[in-house]
Amino acid sequence: MPEDLSNMVTVSDAALVERARAGDRGAFNVLVRRHQVVVYRVCYRILGNGDDAADATQEALLRAYRRLDSFRGQSAFKTWLMRLTVNVSLNERERRKETVPFDESRAAAMPDPASDLARAEAATQLHQALQHLPPNHRAAVVLRDLEGFSYVETATALGVPEGTAKGWAHRGRVRLKELLT
């Protein structure tokens, strides 16, 4: 018998996964509530807009539900979920193959990000510049520099060796600096 969701707030992800596998849909709902914000945020940073990010979030969470049996617990549930999220977002990005020209003249005039307003505008420029990185480099920068994942977690979420994840994040940072200065 599924428990009241309010009783599951302190239950670990691993325990919720076990319950969800056993057919407790309420447990998976708690996992969704717990992680949907970060899933959406990563989709948004990779895809660049809210509508596509909402669709990708839905697809990633649904895929997670269908593939719960393949979660072996070798990494944290969040890292496993990020791998699905990045795959869904990159596939969607590849399918659309749209690019918005980056306005380098605006970037060149970008003020030093000292004031809140300047920081907000500069952050918007950075969000746009992110869309101009190769997809793997973008995903590595999003996970490492925006989500604060360790390189081990980033590598696991991207499904590559740690050295590759480091190289992708490095090249993404170098390109972002070129675009923004």
């Binding site: 849909r25 998976f28 969704v32 949907q36 914000v37 959406y40 945020r41 948004y44 940073r45 809210g50 509508d51 909402a54 979030t57 839905q58 969470l61 649904l62 895929r63 539900y65 269908r66 593939r67 030093d112 990000p113 920081r119 907000a120 500069a122 952050a123 420029q125 950075l126 969000h127 920068v141 520099d145 925006l146 989500e147 604060g148 490095h170 940072r173 170098v174 972002l176 600096k177 923004l180 200065t181």
Partner: protein, 114 residues
């Protein structure tokens, strides 16, 4: 690759505080005599300020988008469960029935996910 280029390559990780002590020392020694490296360092420092600003920016689903997403998820879960149940009962015929009734995507994904 020249010594300066090698240090240039280390600058993003230096600003991100990802270098070990020996690498940090090497970067700091090179920075002491190189206006070019200083300029590059300034660019990376600014980039990491912006990355921090972007990381702090609130990115949330609108309430309507969240409702739509949860509704679609519920439908997807229901179809997943139905596909499993009917497949168990009637195999390929059941899957075809689900497909016919509108659960085609769920049925395909179920197959693809295996």
């Amino acid at each position: 690759m020249s010594a300066t280029d090698e240090v240039l390559d280390l600058l993003p990780a230096y600003v991100a505080d990802e270098l070990d002590a020996a690498e940090r020392e090497r970067v700091e020694r090179a920075l002491a005599g190189s206006p070019r490296l200083h300029e590059e360092l300034g660019g990376y420092r600014r980039l990491f300020v912006l990355l921090a600003a972007l990381a702090d920016e609130e990115v949330v689903l609108t309430a309507s988008a969240e409702r739509r997403m949860l509704r679609q998820l519920a439908i997807g879960w229901y179809l997943s469960g139905t596909v499993r149940f009917v497949e168990g009962l009637a195999g390929a015929y059941g899957r075809a029935l689900i497909y016919y009734l509108g659960g085609g995507r769920a049925a395909r994904t179920q197959q693809g996910g295996r």
